[in-house]
Amino acid sequence: MLILECPYCGVKADETELAPGYEAHLKRFGPSSSPEEFEAYMFARKNPKGVHFERWRHAYGCGKWFLAARDTATLEVFGTYPAQVGEPPAEIIAKIKAKRPDWKGFK
């Protein structure tokens, strides 16, 4: 029942429009990757209590996948941004750091 703003169409949507898609910014490991790399890609999820980056799809809206940064404990949303990035945008990182000085960072 979260409300997230789709960064593509600007709609503030809730669970009637959004579909969740697990952790964001995973790096795909394909053929020739080591078992450890593949395991990390396939199975090792952070699942933190606190700042987390997630994939969401505006499934019953514009259909676009986007990414969200939020606190899994307080449900505070730091921002949403398009999926076509390798890591969170600098302004979202800065916002999280300002609000969560103890946060250890994205990596």
């Binding site: 979260l2 053929p31 078992p35 307080t74």
Partner: protein
Amino acid sequence: MSTRLQKGGRLIDRSSAVEFTFNSKRMRGFQGDTLAAALLANDQMLVGRSFKYHRPRGIVASGAEEPNALINMGTGAQFAPNQRATTTELFAGLTARSQNHWPSLEMDIGVVNGLFARFLPAGFYYKTFIHPRAAWKHVFEPFIRQSAGLGQAPTEADGDRYEHAYAFCDILIAGGGIAGLQAALVAASSGARVMLLEQNAHWGGRAPVDGDLINGKPAEEWIKAVLEALGKMENVTMRSRCMVAGSYDHGYVLADENIADHTPGDGRPKHRLWRIRAGRIIAATGALERPLAFAGNDIPGVMLASAVRDYVVNYGVSAGDRTVLVTNNDDAYRTAIALREAGLEVPLIIDARAEVTGDLPAKARAMGIRITSGRAVVKVKGGARVSGVAIGLQAGEGAVLEEVVCDVVAMSGGWSPVVHLFSHCGGKLIWDDAQAHFRPDSARPPTNQDGASMVFAAGAANGALQGDAALADAGRVASNVVGELGLKTRGKLAKAVVCSEAAMEPVWVMPQGANTVLRAKMWLDFQNDVKVSDVQLAAREGYTSVEHAKRYTTLGMATDQGKLSNINGLAVLSGALNEPIPAVGTTTFRPPYTPVPLGALAGESRGEIFQPLRRTPMHAWHEAHAAYLEPVGLWRRAYCYPRGPETHEQAVHREILNTRANVGLLDASTLGKIVVKGPDAGRFLDMLYTNVMSNLPVGKCRYGLMCNEQGFLSDDGVVVRLSEDSWLCHTTTGGAERIHGWMEDWLQCEWWDWQVYTANVTEQYAQIAVAGPKARQLLEKLGGMDVSKESLPFMGFAEGTLAGLPVRVYRISFSGELSYEIAVAASQGLALWEKLIAAGADLGVQPYGTEAMHVMRAEKGFIMMGDETDGTVIPQDLNLGWAISKKKADYLGKRGQERTYLARPDRFKLAGFETLDGSVIPDGAYIIAEGVNANGQRNTQGRVTSTYHSPTLGRGIAMGLIVGGMDRLGDVVEFNTLPNGTVKARVVDPVFYDKEGEMQNV
């Protein structure tokens, strides 16, 4: 005796009498009564039996916290169990029956449980029913099932109508007492959109009962003026009878509005469920009075002091002639004063506090009421009704100093704020030592998406228990909330004047040194029969966490969810653990605040509109031709088309034999159809499918497999090269939306620089499979395009017209016969279908359903997603290595399939099976192996995945997965059959019919 007084009752209309029945007894009340008030007016104090010991239970409270007065309401399709009599508004013709007794309320056989109370201690479920093992099935379980549960389950479908409503507001205020009204005034003055919801039919809460003065006038006048003012404001929505059930993430609020519980049959929906998004929530939900734990506090006639006062002031009902009051605070003296003013006897006020000095006690004294301080109720006398109290020292162990005759004991152990809405989303509580309760900690609130506080408690819910403090607190909180929204308030805050109260003193066990006999008669949870001794036992047995103790003793697990018992129970637990109360903490508060009918949650989503139904363009034709429809996802597909007296099995066999001999039509419109187009479409499909799709020539079809990244099969279907830059991907019926989402996921999130466009066109086309040796003849009769073997060979694709309709024709076969799948615009699907039926009449054309399709594909050894696959099967397991490209460097699932354990020789692999006796292997059967596993179960070496009677071959055929797969050809294995037999089968090639493919390639 409880009775109706000659005068009084601010909520009832004495000119309007209402008849109702309770346990088939005709009774009379007045318009405005609650059922509980009317029952008391008819001297019906006994209303039910407790859960475990079947002890007599009377009305305790006057509101939502009532644990005892639960009744079965109505009959037939209007029947509802577990309705609280204290919140049920009386109406003419109401029928109520008491619960949890046999044979009757007055004479209940289950009361013998009470004699065995020693043997039914806390956690008795876990201790008692262990040995002997057979006794569980034959003795314990039937007994528990017979005695478990309070109300009865309805036997008819709910005959009432329910609806959902959606709303948005800036500030939602839960609770329409004086704090809620004050908050609403402040919030509304800012121009913000305000919703004010009150669970009762009446506004104003307890203030009118308590006689508070607001702005120098009786509270009732101020309430009336405020309601009028708010009613005129366009930015304010007010609903009474609307219980805020819960607060959820990001300001989501659920509220249950009772519209027609009290006006059945007037055509309105019974309940309306509000689904609200609120910017900020103000919980002005008040406080609940706590019982006191003394021996016999569950005997009918022992009531909350506030409830006794409510019945006198609101309904003109006296719970009894002689009421003894027992309290640890000043508020309860209001009850004594109200009773005296109504002309009733109050022989004694027992105050546990050593000194009693407040203004209210002084007023009571002045009325001539005797007050005894530092005293306790040692025990209540009486069986089915209070007959008196024995009194001793609160500091003592229970020696009786004096006995007083009475028929009501009004108790007050102090007040606890209703913190539910604050706590539902993680708001934390702090312990208030002075008032001995938990209240919301505004420094640790539940938070919103912006990180700001989402719920604000105000008034009594915030620990400001008295009218003056509550009004001031609500004004302050509402002003803060308005300020946070960047708005300004206007107007002056109302001020209340109340009789001041001296400090209360916490009392958790009465008397404090009570012996074990007394403690075993002190009820904490009236409905579930949890006593002080049970909680202490749980602590001794090591249940030191409040959450564990709750589940072990069932404290607070009754339908009132611990509204009365929670704080008392954890105070007793903290005493037993010798830890301070805040260190023990509370159990988790979960929505709903009071029960919400399932009908309200379902709303309009029942029957035909429970979920959307997807219909193919030919759906109406199938229905008109007696098709038996089966659900496939949200679709309905024809399973078979029985003729006359045919069984489904006979119909399926006829359809198969006709398709194999003549020609059959299958409505294949539900197949997923996704167009993939663009300069990088080929490269993209090569990643998506295990085989190569980029080199598929224009005008050709190719079967393809899709896997997830773990390498397990996810979907399959035929891909068609429509043109140089576009492909059409067929998916399974259930997979269309999922696969389209999967494609978009990779295109948007991984390969976002690839130029590919996808469109799910499943519903834009109708698709008809025309299969059978006479399929070509049939199409030639329609005319319009060349469908010869030379122009349109097997696995070819052509566009043209048939019977004047533009079509795409694919030479693909899932039946093994000469087969054309014809796609046509959805709007022309029915027309083409009817033309095929008409033109094929003399060729013997018949429609066939999904079951015939399944059997025919199994005869051909074609796999089916969901039959041969279950999310743990890789293509190699199904001998589909030919459909996996060895040349491609990468595709989705390739790395997953390289995992070493997937190459283990003991994996189950696909083979065919033929029973030696020709019978059909049961669905879901396992292939048994030697020995047993660690659980004593027979080892297995495989399982059946598709099993049918083949009318073509006249015998049972099956596909299944077995260790060794096709290497086991010729082996005879055993499948289990129910209940405990086996059937022998030989491992064979899974292609049972036309192994060379001569039938489809003509």
